[in-house]
Structure formats: C-alpha cells, structure tokens
C-alpha cells in the first residue's frame, strides 16, 4: 500500500485515540481531506522543482510506533546541549519522555501539545492560535490532520525566559521505518522573550521520515530566537515547516544548521503583520555523500517600515545537492521595506549540485530590496597564504570554510550552542581545530 493511502486509512484509527468532539477535530478532518486531494508534492510543482520525495515515499513507514523502551540519559546526553541549564521537551519515537524532560508551568508554559489540545485551560490560546498560519498544502495538512503531540510554549506578556528551551525528538529504531509528525505551537506575547533549540535525532540507521510543523506567534515587541540543528543520520528525512507571524516591533530570528540527514527540506515562512518588524533567517549547510538539503524561505512584507535579512551559506561536497529557493514578497502597502537576501555557495566536488532561485516579488515602489547569490570556490591565494605559514592544506581549507560560514555563527546568542556547532563543523570538515583561534 502506498504511503498516502496508508496515512489516509490510518486516520480512522487515529480518531479512536483522540477526542473527536473537540473543535480541533473539525480542523483535522478538513486537513485530511485536503491531503487526500493534494497528496505529497511532486517535482512538477514549482516549489518542489529541485527536490523529489519519490525515493523516500517508497519506504514502508509505520505511522503508529510501538511502545517505547526507556532511554537512559547517558545514551542521549551527547545530543543535548547539556552545558547549560535549560528546559527540555524530549520525545522518543513521537512520545513524550518525561524522565528526560524538564517542563514548567511557573509563569510560563513549557509543556506538551497533547495536554494543550485536551485541557480546558489552554482552550482560549488554542482557539486563537492553533492552525492559524500553517499553510494548506499537502504536507502541512497531513501534519495538521495527525496533530496530537509536540511542544507547546506560551510566554505571557512582559516575561523573559531565563533559560533556553530545547525540543529534541529521538527515534530509537524500534520500528523498521518510522514516520513522525510533531506539531509545535509557540506563542510569545507582548514584550516577551524566548530562545528555542530544536533537534531531530535518530539513534539507529533505520529510516525515519519527520514531517514537522511549528507555528510561532510573536506579538508586539516580542523577541524570538530559534535554532534548528539538523545533524541526523544518513537514513533520516526531515521536512520542517515553520510559520512565524509577527506583529509591530517584534524581532524573530531563525538559524538553521544543516549538516546531516539524507534529505532535509526546510520550509520557513515569515508573515509580517505589523510595522517596524525585523525578521532574520540564517543558515549554514555543509553536506556531502548523497545528501540533499533544500531551503525554501518566504518573507511576506505586508505592512510598511519592516526589515528582513536572509543569509544562507552552503558548502557542498561529494555528490550532494543543495537547493535554495528564497522568496520575498512586498505588498503595495509595505512601503519603506528593507529586504536583503544572500545565498553564497561553495562547490568542492564536481559531482555536487547547487540549484538556487532567489526570488523577489515587489508591488511597492519605495522599497530597498536586493538579493545576491554566488557560487564559487575557495580563494587559492588565501589558501596559499595559510599554507606558506605552515598550516597544512586540509586545516587551511577548514579554516577558510569556517570563516566563510562565520557570518551566520556570529549572531548565535548562546555561547555553548555556538561552541557545539563549531565542533560539528570541524568534525564535518574533517579537521581537528578549535576555530576559536
């Protein structure tokens, strides 16, 4: 049975496990209908021109995982940023692992989507925000239909969280192949501040397919700082859909670090519903061996006096493929918009491919919008300079590539996280240097 049919038929089984009387359930039913008509995206769709899910969809994924075996902290420690004190929401095979987590209801809510969807006290927030900005395309609808578990974060007005929140999804390989559909909702009210680190990690080589949806609402003057670490096993496929709705004077930043996984697709959408908004999206992609990373970004400038910055760096080795499809839309009311988009790439192997498509769609005249994209190589003279000073070629290349991606790392606000990413980069580039020279 094809995955699409399997998912549609398992929806009925899924209905047995949830409260079908809740208003959310109507949203789920509409969503599964949409998925039924639209199905999985194909290369014929412009947004999926360079990324094919065909090979992934051939795998027979199980949709409902068996009961989990308890993971002990020692096995998963290395995947957490454990140097810092943080809230943790940890899922194992899609199910909440309380012994690995640290949640709170003290002033702020850092807890589970499953309780938010079922408990009455969360109802006003769910009514106001759930599925309000998620798009209606096939994949997002599929997630909406099966939305039951994930992270729920609510920061009320004037609250700044004291420590970052880590959302980590582990898959144990209990199933031969597993499909996960986490659904996250993050609401940051006026003047509130939140930092989130998200990671998806397989513990074995069994294939996984994650179709994740995150909705983030940043109210007036709110600050959202979101980091995605994608360094999964070669068997993992991740489709990440993140939607961010911003109001006046808010500031949202999303950093995406893509180093692992077989196929990673990041759909990142910013909607600027207010003035003086600042949106930043940055990413470093360093991949090799048959890996495929696709960044698909959208910034929708709806009102005047807003800014957006995009900075995506990519280093592509062996027969990897990189895709960047960035779209900036400026509505005619959005005068005085300042939008900047950059996508710089280095190809280090002839078998590697990069497809980039930075788009601008502008309907307002008094704006400053620019984009630039480059594909090139490391500067031979810079390499020679380093080597002439006794740095071996491999390390010299590593240093130059690190320097290349440094503009993205620069704005990471959590030092421990920055260190961790630096280590991953060093590892990925095959050099043993600390870069903090």
């Amino acid at each position: 049975m094809e995955l699409k049919e399997k998912l549609i038929s398992s929806f009925m089984a899924f209905e047995n496990t949830v409260n079908v009387d809740s208003p959310i359930h109507d949203i789920r039913i509409n969503a599964i209908k949409r998925f039924e008509t639209q199905g999985f995206p194909t290369k014929k769709q412009e947004a999926w021109k360079y990324t094919s899910l065909n090979s992934v969809l051939k795998t027979d994924f199980s949709v409902f995982p068996k009961d989990i075996e308890a993971l002990d902290y020692k096995t998963v420690k290395k995947y957490l940023i454990d140097e810092i004190d943080s809230y943790k929401i940890v899922f194992v095979d899609g199910q909440y692992a309380s012994h690995l987590s640290e949640t709170t209801h003290d002033d702020i809510d850092v807890c589970l989507m499953s309780s938010a969807l079922t408990k009455a006290k969360y109802k006003p927030v769910i009514d106001n925000y759930f599925n309000k900005i998620a798009t209606t395309d096939g994949l997002t609808s599929l997630n909406t239909a099966f939305s039951a578990e994930g992270a729920y974060i609510y920061i009320p007005r004037h609250k700044a969280i004291k420590k970052p929140i880590q959302i980590v999804h582990f898959s144990t390989g209990n199933e031969a192949a597993l499909m996960l559909q986490p659904r996250n909702l993050i609401v940051v009210e006026e003047n509130a501040y939140v930092q989130v680190i998200e990671r998806h990690q397989s513990l074995t080589d069994n294939p996984t397919l994650t179709n994740s949806v995150t909705e983030i609402f940043a109210d007036k003057r709110a600050i959202v700082d979101y980091y995605k670490i994608q360094n999964d096993k070669q068997s993992a496929t991740l489709i990440d859909n993140t939607f961010i709705n911003q109001k006046n004077d808010s500031n949202a930043k999303v950093h995406t670090f893509s180093f692992g996984g077989k196929l990673t697709r990041n759909n990142l959408n910013f909607y600027q519903n207010g003035e003086h908004i600042d949106s930043t999206m940055k990413g470093v992609t360093i991949i090799g061996d048959k890996q495929h990373v696709d960044h698909n970004t959208l910034v929708h400038h709806i009102e005047p006096n807003c800014e957006s910055h995009q900075d995506y760096k990519g280093i592509f080795d062996e027969n990897s493929t990189g895709v960047f499809n960035g779209k900036v839309v400026v509505e005619k009311e959005a005068q005085k918009t300042n939008a900047f988009q950059a996508n710089n790439n280095i190809l280090i192997n002839d078998k590697a491919t990069i497809n980039t498509k930075p788009q601008l769609e502008i309907f307002a005249d008094d704006v400053r919008c620019s984009h630039g994209c480059t594909i090139g190589q490391l500067d031979e003279s810079a390499l020679f300079y380093l080597r002439s000073r006794g740095i071996p070629e491999k390390e010299a290349r590593g240093l130059l590539m690190y320097a290349f991606s440094n503009t993205v790392l620069d704005s990471v606000k959590i030092p421990e996280l920055k260190n961790r990413i630096t280590k991953i980069i060093a590892n990925k580039l095959g050099v043993n240097i600390g870069f903090d020279l």
Binding site: E46, K332, Q335, N345, L347, I348, N349, D350, K351, A352, T353, I354, N355, T356, K357, P358, Q359, L360, E361, I362, F363, A364, D365, D366, V367, R368, C369, S370, H371, G372, C373, T374, I375, G376, Q377
Partner: protein
Amino acid sequence: MSKYTEDDLREELKTKEYEYGFYTDIESETFPNGLNEDIVRAISKKKNEPEWMTNWRLEAFKVWKEMTEPEWANVHYEKPDFQAISYYSAPNSKPKYDSLDEVDPELLATFEKLGISLDEQKKLAGVAMDVVVDSVSVATTFKKTLAEKGIIFMSISEAIQEYPELVKKYIGTVVPQKDNFYAALNSAVFSDGSFCYIPKGVRCPMELSTYFRINQAGTGQFERTLVIADEGSYVSYLEGCTAPSRDENQLHAAVVELIAMEDAEIKYSTVQNWFPGNAEGKGGVYNFVTKRGLCEKNAKISWTQVETGSAVTWKYPSCVLKGDNSIGEFYSIAVTNNYQQADTGTKMIHLGKNTKSTIISKGISAGKSQNSYRGLVQISSRAENARNFSQCDSLLMGNECGAHTFPYIEAKNKSAQIEHEATTSKIGEDQIFYCNQRGIDTEKAIALIVNGFSKEVLNKLPMEFAVEAQKLLEISLEGSVG
C-alpha cells in the same frame, strides 16, 4: 521653475496615447481564419516551397496540436483563440521591387511616420534593410554590397528557394519544432522572416536590419529568422518593430535562431515597440517569442533588447554555450506602463569549458504594469571554469505596479563562478533633490536618472540604433527620458 513631480509624470504616462497608432490601408490578401493541415499546406504552397519544407511544417503542426499553452509565466491575459486568427496576410501590391521608387508610396509614408525612412537609413547609417510588412519582404537594399562579400541576406522564403540546402541544414537545429508551444506554432505557419549567412572569415561591413510591423487587422505575425555566422565571421543584426493601434489583441509568435560557428561573433539587437494597449489595458500585442543562439568554440553571441511595447511579453533570448571558450551576453531594458505585462529574461546554458556569460537586465515599471525577470544560468558538470555574472535591477514608479525577479541558478561543476545580484528601488527623493539643487528641474532629473539607470544597456546598442531606441523609450516613459 515648473513644479513637475513624479505624480505629474505618472499622470502624463497614464494619458499618453500610443503615438504610432495609425493604420496603413494597403490591400492585403488574407487567408480565412483558423488553423488546420490545409491552411499549413496552403501557406507552404503559396510560398512555392519544396516538399521537405511542407513536411517540416506539418510535423510541427502535429506536435503543436498535442501541446498546451505554457502557464508558468507571471502574466495574465485572455488566451488567444487560435482558430480565430488568419495565418497568412501579404500586401497585395507587386510582390517584388527593383528599387525603392517602386514601393507603394503609402507604405513609404508609413515608415517615414515611424522615423525609419529607408532613404535616410540608406544614406546616414549604411544600413541594409529587409523591410517586412505583414510577413512579405517588400524591399531589400544594399544587397549588392553584401553579395560582393558573399553574404546572403534575404527573406527566408527566398532563401528556401535559392539556398534550400543551407536552410534545410540549419532550420530547427537551435529551436526545434517541438521546443515549446509557440515555437511549434511558428514552425507550422511562419509566413516570412529573414535569412542571413556570413561566409567564413567575413566581417559584415554594415549593420543588417529588419523592421517588422503588424498591419492587417486580425492577422498574427509569425516571423522566422535564421542567422548563420560561419567560422571567424562577424555580423551585427538589428531588429525593430512598431505596430499600429488596434483594439483586438494581436498575436506575435516569432522564432529567431542564431548559429555562431568557431570564432564567429553575432550581435543581435532588438527594439520592440508593438502596440502596448491603451491606458485601460485594452488591446495590445501578445508577444511570445523564442530566441536562441548556439555558440561553437570561441564564438560569441550578444543579445541586446529594448522592450517598450506589447501588452504581454514572453521572451527569453538564450545562449547555448556549447563550444569551449564561448561567450554569451544578454543586455535588456524592459519598460512597462499602464496594464502592460512583461516576463522576460534569458537562459545561459554552459556546456563547454571556460565559457562566460554576462546578464544585465533593467526593468522599469510604471502605471499598473507588471515586469518580471526570469532567467536561468545552468552550468553542466563538464563545463570547467564557467563564469557568470548577472545583474537585475528594477525601478518602480508608483505603487500600483510590480517588479519581480525569478532567477534560476543550477551549478554542477565545482570550478564554476557565479554571481547574481538584484536590486529593486524607486527614484530616490534625495537623488531628485540633488539634481534640483543644482538647477535641474524635476522632469529633467527623472530623465537623467532613468537614463543613467538604463545606460549600461543602451550603450550596447549599435550607434545607428541608439537614436531609435531612445525614441522608443520616450513613447513609453515620456517626460522621464530626455
């Protein structure tokens, strides 16, 4: 000093009627509306074509029937009814002239009104022109000078008669019949066009030029141009067009094929000023053009275009850089006003080693128009040391128009160096203030700024053509270009 503001300019642009909208009454022989195999055969027979050509057309027609119109472009328009168009129309006066004096005086007057008097061109510019009025070539000048050099420059229907082996060898090699919907349509029904062959090592002594016009109500024009530059030769080719004002939409689906052999260079310049529709967006020409050039080793093809007209433009002059060290260039200014829509750009396909390409695209949108740049830069895995530089700048006037950029960049070789830049802005108040402060009034300031904005491209036009280009820019943006 007069208070000329951008608002005034916008107002003026809105009310500016198409100056060249007149209609020459020349008796025409027109085929009945509709398209079927018989019509294709009839066109072919009318032109006394050999059998291979008729079959080639029929093949294209067969493919076309299976195809659907492309929908991906960022343009919205009422789809033309392909069965309501007449596919052949030729001026009824004598088909051939020995000298200009024999040309229908009314026709000559038309050209004069357009400011492209043949005499003037002949004397001043040394331009040989193959004038095309509604599909049939009526006047050719300077043929003798060209013949001495061995250059063949004639209408493609003549070429089919006189040089069938050349046409047969090259037609459809760069743009195959089944390339796309409009190319297939053109292949089936093309009525005329130009053919040009530059022999080995010859540097064409003058700019070759063709003027296209749509003149007969309800006739679509399907031009086919084939330019072959043999080894080591050079040619600069100009193409320019204006069309009379008309209410119903007219379809124009041309195909241009360029072949630059080893060490050859082709420079192809276009000034396009088909009727853009009136201020309400009524009427106007649909311009769906397929232009492509093939570069062999060390060859160079350079496209320059000034697009000011047409209600809908769908045009992507491309270069296939097949040979090593070959060079492709694309310089474009696209101006849209009122309800005009343009989706234009280029494709640079890098196949050979050390190939280079440059793309400079300037879009100016005013009124309620939509202006899109759509381009592809593709580096194949065998294209070592390929180099590309692209720059797409858009200028917006008013907040009811749109500027869009859709660049596709696909690189499969690690030695590729690609740079792409795009900016969108309006004429800055500070820029105008700076000019005002130095005693330049606002109108002149805008002219200055727009001129500066498009200068990089205007500079690429041949001297003889630059005047015409300026003139045509004025029509679209009068008051802003001095």
